[in-house]
Amino acid sequence: MQRIKLRQAGWLDRWQSLSGAILAGFLFIHLHLESSILLGKDAFYKVARMLEAGFLDPSGHGYPSVIVVFGLGLFAVLMVHAIAAIRRFPTKYKQWKILKEFSKTVPQRETNLWQLQLVSGFVLFFLVPVHLLGIVMNPGSIDPNLSAFRIVEQGFGFLYMALLPVAVIHALIGVYRLAMKWFGDKLPREKIFKGATVVTCWLILLGTTSLIVWYYTGITSLPTPLTPYSPL
């Protein structure tokens, strides 16, 4: 019995780290791909084709189901991360009290960062599935026109506005902590911290500008009736 418990702790810690790293890596790539709208509808369209494996399709369009399968896989990783991370949540009222008291008597950057991660993690637990399921349940909707419509007319823009900073901050504090956790003897702490700060700012900037462009696209150039984009 005790053996199983022992096994579990290491196991959970590793899966929490691994799934977190995968999700952070995904977020990084996701925001960059999504920002292709900055280069125009055509660029975004091409990215969407590539993601749907258009290069395998003779017609060049691709298969929306690729995104669905990928999205479901991501959802699974998310669940692993949530389940492994939930044990970090202070479960007793007394622990919250101690934590609050402690961050006052011994104020530290790291305790604050961790509290930020607790809160952001909690928020993400609810917001990310909404976003992810929204994509998985509407295959084929990654499209310059349809996406802009979702963002402007269906209110998903608000979801993304909230998700962007919360997800980015949670992910980069996490990456910094991961680096220290497993390779604290090999990596320079302050450099990693600075790097994480720079990447955080970059991703938020990138995401915000893309979101502005999405709004602009949605307001100025949606066809009526709404049809998917087709390159000229």
């Binding site: 702790a9 590793r14 202070p90 934590l99 008597t105 104020p107 530290q108 305790t111 220290m180 702490r189």
Partner: protein
């Protein structure tokens, strides 16, 4: 004319629970090279003999004088007052330990139970000692690494800097990891990674540590906790039993 220092000191005597904890202020003229420890002794001598705090060595060796000084758990005897520009020094007892009174806490009880739990002693390879045989020499790198880990003075600052240790009193903390590392390094010790896994391979050990690095930031002996814990965690993770 040197400046006036203001000390804001936490006061509470568990033997007089009817008097709630409060903060008492003392004024004191600063002297050159004054440490918080010197100041506290002056206050006790000249102003308030009832003030409780601990010290033994006044040289950063015994670990008794640790307290929270302006928000940082550290040694009073090694903290110069001149670094505080506004001349205000706030003192609290180390959180996470039993309070004896005012600034005095019982770190001994915690340290002893940690040592016992972690079996922080040498388990020699062979118990039969032949006193006539020559001692096996130790590589100097190994001796140095052990010496480095042995510099811990059990002051408790790491435990008082660690949110994890504060929230979960069964957590072994950096001082505990350091003890384990010290014996894991020792070639005379008979225990294997597997054995240490049983000692710190759980939620109260390396897998419970959230890498908040308060221990790294505040250890007055500058032990490399960040590197040591990461190393232990990797080693223990790689011992055959998991994914």
């Amino acid at each position: 004319m040197s400046r006036q220092l203001t000390f804001k000191i936490f006061r509470y005597d568990p033997l007089q629970p009817e008097i709630k904890p409060y903060t008492q202020e003392y004024q004191l003229e600063e002297a050159s090279g004054m440490t918080v420890f010197i100041a506290l002794n002056l206050i006790r001598e000249k102003q308030d003999p009832s003030l409780q705090f601990d010290f033994v060595c006044r040289a950063g060796i015994c670990g008794s004088c640790a307290m929270v000084i302006n928000g940082v758990p550290t040694l009073a005897c090694r903290t110069l007052t001149k670094q505080y520009e506004d001349g205000i020094v706030t003192l609290l007892p180390l959180p996470g330990f039993g309070l004896i009174g005012d600034l005095s806490v019982d770190t001994g009880k915690f340290m002893r139970s940690i040592s016992e739990r972690l079996q922080a002693w040498l388990e020699p390879k062979d118990h039969e000692v032949d006193i006539h045989s020559l001692e096996i020499p130790m590589e100097s790198e190994e001796a140095e690494a052990i010496y480095e880990a042995d510099r811990c003075i059990e002051c408790g600052c790491c435990v008082s800097s660690c949110a994890t240790a504060q929230m979960r009193d069964t957590f072994v903390g950096a001082v505990g990891f350091n003890k384990v590392a010290r014996f894991a390094l020792d070639s005379r010790d008979s225990r294997e990674v597997e054995d240490f896994y049983h000692i710190i391979g759980d939620e109260d050990g390396v897998f419970g540590c959230m890498t908040l690095l308060g221990c790294q930031d505040n250890c007055p002996k500058d032990l490399n906790h960040q590197g040591q814990i990461a190393y232990l965690r990797r080693k223990i993770s790689m011992s055959d039993r998991i994914i």
